[in-house]
């Protein structure tokens, strides 16, 4: 029952799909058609970026040259200029062949969307192309020791001094701050205002005088987060994104993108099914079924929920495209996606049994599985805890009183 326009659009999209498939087949090196084995194998870009392998370099450069590190950004900022429908096709085709993202970047996932909405022309021209080309690696200065779930109570001060702000304070849980070139940071520019009203969103170079970082050792044995200290860091006022003292709007918008990014961790359809991974270590019975009925049931329930979440993620994109999305829906997805990812790793640990307990052997790839398991425990904390997400759903979507 679709009309002529619909048919023409569908035909164009199918042409795009087949061309994309051919291009990806020809250009994605075989080594890049499986998930990165560790964080060291992920390309984050930046001033000091190093490729871990030649295929990684080739894949990144080919995708960059096509604008497909940021497929849906405008071409003038180094993007691919794809429509939402084309972007969906590209993602589906990459997932089909297991192609990994050519560039991982908080600039792409978080800052970019906020700059596209709130940045001025000069800021967009300055920063977006460098994000797209992987030249600058960004970190996020949000949480503070006394401002976690209650983020708006942050105390890092930015005092006006002529054309500059002078910034003093401390951030915590700053992901990869020790590797980052620039930071997007929430600072208090009006200490007298109500807590949501005196905050500004500002960008500055991590090489500025007075910035220092200190990695935090986590239960996984890794240090992906830092404490970040600012001691009278001088930043031009022109680096404020949006309006001074209205940074909370930018912060919240960016958080929606951060939550969407984190919830995506819960739906990784590629790779071997969990049930088969488990069967490899646990074994199978005479009928070829996983020889642990309770584990098998848990995995099957997980698979049901994972497939349903994938459908919901797809629907969320389609609703946004149709202008029917609730702005707080990313909180719903963040809650469910992170809880699901924790379930996945509990299952993987149970399936691995004794073999999943080794921490420092070649055999265990330096304890890759237990370390990844422990890492997932942060999913339902970072970017807003599960409890905060449920509170947002209750208040903003369900309109429950006094939340």
């Amino acid at each position: 029952m679709s009309d002529m326009t619909g048919d023409a659009e569908t035909a164009d999209l199918e042409t795009f799909r087949s061309e994309t498939r051919v291009w990806l087949e020809a250009n994605c090196p075989p080594e890049m058609r499986k998930p990165a084995s560790s964080d060291a194998d992920v390309f984050w870009g930046g001033r000091n970026a190093k490729f871990s392998s030649e295929p990684q370099r080739i894949w990144f450069e080919r995708m960059r040259d096509k604008g497909w590190t940021v497929p849906d950004w405008p071409k003038e900022y180094g993007g691919g200029g794809l429509s939402p429908a084309e972007h969906k096709v590209l993602r589906a085709e990459m997932a089909r062949m297991g192609a990994r993202p050519p560039l991982s970047s908080f600039g792409i996932w978080m800052l970019g969307p906020a700059l596209l909405k709130y940045g001025n022309d000069a800021q967009k021209k300055e920063h977006l192309p460098k994000i797209a080309a992987g030249l600058i690696r960004w970190c996020q200065g949000y949480s503070e020791p006394n401002a976690g779930s209650d983020l708006a109570s942050l105390q890092t001060r930015a005092e006006s001094d002529g054309d500059d702000f002078v910034i003093t304070g401390q951030k915590i849980w700053t992901s990869y701050a020790n590797y980052a070139d620039w930071i997007f940071c929430l600072v208090r520019t009006d200490p007298a205002a109500k807590k949501h009203d005196g905050i500004s969103f500002i960008l500055f170079d991590m090489a500025s005088k007075g910035v220092s970082t200190k990695p935090i050792l986590l239960i996984s044995g890794y240090s992906p987060f830092c404490e970040t200290f600012f001691d009278n860091v001088r930043v031009p006022k022109s680096h404020v994104v949006g309006t001074v003292n209205r940074g909370w709007d930018v912060a919240k918008y960016l958080l929606q993108h951060e939550r969407a990014m984190i919830s995506g961790m819960g739906e990784r359809g590629v790779g071997r099914p969990l049930g088969q991974i488990a069967a490899d270590s646990v074994g199978t019975d005479a009928l070829g079924r996983l020889d642990d009925a309770m584990l098998r049931g848990r995995i099957a329930s997980f698979d049901v929920d994972e497939a349903a979440l994938a459908a919901c993620a797809e629907r969320a994109v389609d609703l946004a495209k149709a202008g029917q999305a609730h702005p707080a829906f990313s909180s719903a997805m963040k809650y469910y996606g992170t809880e699901l990812n924790k379930r996945r790793y509990e299952i993987l640990m149970s399936a691995g049994g004794l073999d999943a307990l080794e921490w420092e052997s070649e055999r265990s790839k330096q304890g890759a599985r237990p370390r990844a398991w422990l890492r997932t425990k942060a999913n339902s904390i970072e970017g807003g805890t599960t409890e905060v997400m449920l509170g947002i759903v209750a208040k903003r979507i369900l309109d429950l009183p006094g939340a």
Binding site: G275, R296, R315, D318, Y335, V393, A403
Partner: protein, 379 residues
């Protein structure tokens, strides 16, 4: 295909919702139950349903139907779920119409489908025999006799069984219980000699019957599809039924949820609205997310059915499993959060709990479909 309703589908939803909420709110089901209505639904309303094109929604236009797809059938089922309207839509318009349209020969289609479209023929699939839905365990026997077959055995939970004008009976013509080979579907006249039908009053006050066949003779023309090869036809028809019941459960879940959230906003205890308590807010929020995710999974399954039924099985298994667990959670939270009121017959919420229990068993419960997914994925 985008996972949102098109403009035409939204219009269909609005007109179904308007008609159903106006003519058949939950009080309609209540009065049918209380009066022990012998038909179990309103024939008058069914005719207006047919006049609007709903009875023949899935029937091709050449047989007087609307020629729409499973997404559209799901849209109507969801609205039925909101008011728990008892109607022949599921058994006749979705399941039986699909069986006839997909498996029927030219004569069978032209004889029955136009009557389904105009609302004059009620039909139903008789499949389950034991306590649980296990289609391959079918053991009702059909043995060759003369030019036709002789059928003997019993069926349970035959939806609309006591009012149906045509039974579609799954029988075993070869092999033994558990095997795919040897299943055959038969069109059986409920008035035929040897057919005994007992209406069973169910927990949800919807129609169902137990049917016994004792040496019922049917001729060769009554075979729907191919002899011994009925399993594939049955798979498709059951998946269509599952998608439809999952849609009903989405509508039911959302209605219970909306009523419950409204109650949280109006009931006061300890000097405040109970919806202010975080313990209840978080449970409500979790349930909201569950329903949204299930809605997407069900839509995905219906689209998969419209695209290629043979490849829709896993999507349908996910949808029916999710719909079962979500609806169960929704009605349990609904009763619990309504407190003592939720336990009273006077209050509607209990009707939703009862219907959800039946929907969960219809065409396989969450465990059954979770198991199917595990098998499909090879572990």
């Amino acid at each position: 295909m985008a996972l949102v309703l098109t403009e035409e589908q939204s219009m269909l939803r609005d007109s179904a919702r308007g008609l159903i909420s106006d003519k058949a709110p939950v009080s309609h089901l209540r009065s049918l139950r209380d009066s022990k209505d012998p038909t179990g639904f309103s024939r008058e309303f069914w005719h207006s349903f047919a006049e609007m094109g709903f009875a023949g929604l899935l029937v091709p236009e050449e047989f007087g139907g609307s020629g729409l797809g499973y997404v559209e059938a799901g849209v109507v089922m969801e609205e039925i779920g909101r008011t728990l309207m008892p109607s022949p839509f599921l058994a006749t318009s979705v399941v039986a119409a699909s069986a006839l349209n997909r498996g029927g020969n030219a004569g069978q289609k032209s004889e029955h489908l136009p009557k389904i479209s105009n609302g004059s023929l009620l039909a139903t699939l008789a499949i389950d025999e034991g306590a649980k839905h296990r289609p391959l365990q079918t053991s009702l026997q059909a043995v060759r006799a003369g030019n036709g077959f002789r059928l003997s055995g019993a069926k349970a939970l035959v939806v609309d069984g006591h009012v149906a004008d045509l039974l579609i009976v799954a029988a075993r013509t070869a092999g033994s219980a558990g095997e795919r080979e040897g299943l055959t579907l038969f069109l059986v006249d409920p008035k035929a000699k040897g057919v005994a039908i007992e209406r069973t009053i169910m927990v949800d006050a919807h129609n169902a019957a137990r049917i016994e066949l004792a040496n019922v003779e049917v001729n060769a023309d009554s075979v729907l599809g191919e002899v011994d090869q009925g399993a594939t036809l049955l798979d498709g028809v059951l998946d269509i039924g599952r998608g439809a019941v999952a849609s009903e459960m989405v509508g039911l879940s959302e209605e219970v949820f909306n009523r419950t959230v409204e109650y949280l906003k109006s009931r006061k205890q300890f000097g405040k609205l109970i919806g202010e308590f975080q313990a209840l807010q978080h449970r409500a929020a979790e349930l909201y997310v569950d329903i949204e995710i299930t809605r997407a999974a069900v839509m995905k399954a219906l689209q998969a059915l419209d695209t290629d039924i043979a490849k829709a099985a896993s999507a349908v298994a996910v949808a029916k499993a999710r719909a079962g667990t979500t609806a169960t959670r929704a009605v349990q939270e609904g009763v619990q959060m309504h407190g003592g009121m939720g336990m009273t017959d006077q209050f509607d919420i209990g009707f939703f709990m009862k219907r959800a229990r039946v929907c969960e068993e219809l065409f396989g419960d969450a465990n059954y479909h979770t198991e199917q997914l595990a098998r499909a994925r090879g572990y």
